[in-house]
């Protein structure tokens, strides 16, 4: 990622944060910088500019990990294994952040930090699945065996991601608000809210790409260092 792009990302997310927190939430928006009231959310709707992009990046990261794992199984290149583990690590980080932000929101909207809502249950299952991925990796000393077994595991785990994020919470009745993807097929946002939301999604995705790039390079250096030590 070049320097100009990094500066753009810094300013972009800075502006998104300002817009997400400063634009007023009003019952009937008249101006371009006003958000509508989402039923049942009110001012608390601002969480969706941070919580949803974190969940989005979680899905992107886990699916990226699955793609690199498939590539590893075909090529047996260590570089693909390093990319898969870097992506899964970031996916786990963003999954934890999405869980924490969701839990804080639940405290203010539902009255307690944890309610075992289908959304909360499915994200915990996802955390456990990817926690087990890292436990599996740390339990195998041989490099080739570790890479092959964890690649197979990451492919199976990757298949479950859309199921736990998009399907399970819609099969079982949930209190989780759905202003974007819902049964009515209607977006409960006005133009400015949607613009800030999509800008946040783009910013978080760029941030993920940058973090992934750094993490892959760090893992490559560590791998090189350990090979030199052998």
């Amino acid at each position: 990622m070049n320097t100009a792009l990094k500066i753009v990302l810094g300013c972009w997310l800075g502006l998104v944060i300002c817009a997400a927190l400063l634009f007023p939430v009003v019952p009937a928006p008249q101006s371009w910088n006003e958000f509508p009231v989402i039923p049942g959310l009110g001012e608390k709707a601002r969480i969706l500019f941070f919580h949803v992009p974190m969940s989005w990046v979680t899905v992107v990261a886990f699916l990226t990990s699955m793609v690199f794992s498939i590539r590893y199984l075909r090529s047996k290149e260590t570089a693909d294994d390093l990319k898969a583990v870097a992506s899964a690590g970031l996916g786990l980080l963003f999954c934890v952040l999405a869980t924490i932000t969701g839990s804080v929101w639940a405290k203010f909207n539902w009255g307690s930090f944890w309610n075992w809502d289908p959304r909360e249950t499915s994200i915990i299952v996802l955390l456990l699945i990817y926690g087990a991925y890292f436990a599996l990796r740390s339990a195998i000393p041989s490099d080739e065996k570790r890479a092959a077994l964890s690649a197979v595991y990451a492919v199976i785990a990757g298949v479950t991601v859309p199921f736990f994020i998009f399907i399970v919470p819609r099969i079982i009745g949930s209190l989780h608000p759905e202003p974007i993807v819902n049964a009515e097929g209607k977006v409960h946002m006005n133009g400015s809210m949607l613009a800030v939301f999509l800008s946040s999604l783009a910013g978080f995705t760029m941030l993920f790409v940058w973090m992934l790039n750094i993490k892959i390079r760090v893992l490559r250096l560590a791998h090189h260092h350990s090979k030199e030590g052998d």
Binding site: L13, G14, I214, L221
Partner: protein
Amino acid sequence: MYEFLADHALYTVLLIVLICWAGIFFYLWRLDRKVARLEKDLRQ
């Protein structure tokens, strides 16, 4: 001061979130540069 913070809670949240983002951004920036330096050393 306390009165201002109580009346303008959203500005306080904005300030904290911006400080957090600036911290994360400069941490990543420095990390990126350090990794680039290590890669350069390795190539030489």
